[in-house]
């Protein structure tokens, strides 16, 4: 995702002289070298100073530029939280806050590097939008969207090596719309971000065990949520499963439940997320998710008990 982001940002910056990136001593690899060579003035490293990173982006946006703030998710949104809230959201400025390794992607780096409450925290701030692409193709589309988004937006990203999931998606990426990426009937899974890969694996497991086709949606725009689309989905399937790499508070699961109540949906609704506790456990990304019950083999029996 990082490489796709930097490649896309180069293209975006080439097309629009207002695009710039401010990093806090963490830089996307890949074609960033080319970006820096061609647009040296539009690449700013403030050093390890995240509050300043956000403030500078706000000031640049106030002069008509379209800045991207970039570092590890915990440091783009938690450390400078009040700058994000006041400078970007209160003033409603077009700044993209890029969070790398959101969720628990920085598994072995431990809890200081896990952004597992990010959707709840960013979603609570008025004006802030949230985009969580599920694969590199969606990262590309999301980056193009961010460059023209009118207001602050949190781009929730993974790191590297994420597989492509949407090459044959029946629906295109459209900001604000839940996107069907794999068709099916009867049962569907709603997910966003990197863990959407697990949603696809879970769909395959359900198909193997139960037969039929399981639909998967990428709810990449977590805010503003596609309330109409999700209400329609809740009405159209017998069983809806929400899978997210986030604490059980303030994410997609609770919102889907609220929508199900409001829309009078009759489907069965299952929500799977991280536990509401810090992770003091080390291993790879998949190991951490599994420790919190997120693995197709652990989820399946909870649905079909």
């Amino acid at each position: 995702m990082r490489d796709t982001f930097s490649r896309t940002l180069y293209q975006v910056a080439k097309a629009d002289p207002k695009i710039c990136i401010v990093v806090a001593d963490i830089s996307p690899a890949g074609s960033m070298a080319q970006y820096r060579q061609e647009f040296p003035e539009r690449f700013v490293n403030v050093g390890v100073a995240e509050q300043a990173m956000i403030g500078l982006c706000a000031g640049m946006a106030m002069r008509g530029m379209k800045p991207f703030a970039y570092t590890i998710a915990t440091f783009t949104i938690y450390r400078p939280f009040e700058m994000v809230r006041v400078d970007l959201c209160y003033q409603d400025l077009p700044v993209t806050v890029v969070g790398i390794g959101a969720g628990v992607g920085y598994s072995v780096l431990g809890g200081t590097h896990h952004a597992m409450e990010d959707v709840a925290v960013m979603g609570a701030i008025p004006n802030m939008a949230i985009l969580a692409p599920c694969d590199p193709l969606e990262v590309e589309a999301a980056t193009w969207h961010c460059a023209k988004h009118d207001g602050p937006i949190y781009l929730r990203m993974g790191k590297a090596g994420e597989p492509t999931l949407t090459a044959n998606a029946p629906e295109p990426f459209q900001f604000g719309k839940a996107r069907l990426i794999k068709p099916g009937g009867g049962t569907c899974i709603l997910s966003y971000g990197v863990i959407t890969k697990m949603a696809v694996d879970l769909a395959a497991k359900i198909e193997n065990e139960q037969g039929g086709q399981v639909a998967v949606y990428s709810v990449h725009t977590v805010k503003p949520l596609d309330r109409e689309g999700i209400a329609r989905i809740l009405g159209a399937y017998d069983r809806v499963i929400v899978l997210e790499e986030h604490v059980p508070v303030g994410g997609l699961g609770p919102q889907a439940k609220a929508l199900a109540w409001e829309s009078g949906a009759r489907c069965k609704l299952h929500a799977f997320s991280l536990q509401h506790e810090f992770i003091h456990f080390y291993g790879g990304h998949a190991d951490l998710l599994k420790a919190h019950g997120l693995h197709p083999d652990l989820i399946y029996p909870k649905i079909f008990a």
Partner: protein, 256 residues
């Protein structure tokens, strides 16, 4: 202008009147002496009141300039009004939402960077308080601005040696001296009497333009009204009718 601030003080409670009085000459000098203006009154330069609680000083100047309407001043901090205790971005004359300390200087550096990229000749004036210089975010950007080659920022720190709970030099004895700290971070700096418009003007006019500048203005909190000067409660309080009359009399005596 102090009288105008006092008049408004009779309508509301939360005013930060003393903090407005300490930076009034600084704000006035920047707007009337330093910011360039074309025939239509438009300025390429920017003013950010990073110590947003001094807003009454800025509002009094904006009213004088005709940027802020008289009825906006009269409805200050009231349900019918638009201008509140802290400046709000987007209102006429207000170029940043401030009130939370430690934000304005970063915004200014972002603006200055954008001006460099877009080849704009603009100067950004930022007024900070001494309490504000205790915020770590200020020092992040103090280090960054000269490192990024920023030259078109003029900050003025209103050093009245008071903050909410008391005297700055007693709460944090290592706060002063400030001059060496600012210079050590790569800024051009000079310390002046912040109530002398001439001194503030001369200091800024003589800047080299090779570095960002921070003028340290020594001031008196509540300047001009004897019972307010250096008395912390006036960070928040508005004068009662009797105190109001006394303040007016003192200001009349000073400048009839």
């Amino acid at each position: 202008m102090r009288k105008r601030v006092l008049q408004i003080s009779q309508k509301v409670t939360a005013l930060h009147i003393a903090g407005a009085f300490s930076c009034l000459e600084i704000v006035d000098t920047i707007y009337f002496g330093l910011m360039r203006r074309d025939a239509g009154g438009q300025s390429p330069d920017t003013f950010i009141l990073s110590k947003g609680h001094g807003s009454m000083a800025q509002y009094a100047v904006l009213e004088e300039l005709g940027v802020m309407a008289r009825e906006d001043m009269e409805t200050y901090s009231q349900p019918a009004g638009r201008y509140a205790t802290h400046p709000d971005y987007g209102l006429p004359g207000i170029e940043a939402s401030t009130g939370s300390l430690g934000h304005g200087l970063s915004l200014a550096v972002g603006m200055a960077l954008a001006d460099n990229i877009q080849k704009q000749d603009r100067v950004i004036y930022v007024v900070l308080s001494d309490g504000e210089l205790e915020e770590g975010s200020v020092w992040e950007v103090m280090l960054i601005a000269p490192s990024l080659g920023i030259k078109n920022i003029v900050a003025v720190a209103d050093l009245n040696d008071f903050q909410s709970l008391g005297q700055t030099s007693k709460i944090l004895p290592n706060f002063y001296p400030m001059l060496d700290k600012v210079r050590a971070f790569g800024w051009e700096s000079v310390e002046v009497d912040g109530h002398s418009q001439q001194a503030v003007y001369d200091a800024i006019k003589s800047r080299s333009g090779q570095k960002p500048m921070m003028v340290l203005g020594r001031t008196i909190k509540g300047k001009g009204v004897s019972y307010m000067e250096n008395v912390p409660i006036w960070h928040y309080r508005s004068p009662n009718p009797q105190e109001y009359q006394q303040a007016l009399a003192e200001l009349d005596k000073a400048s009839p």
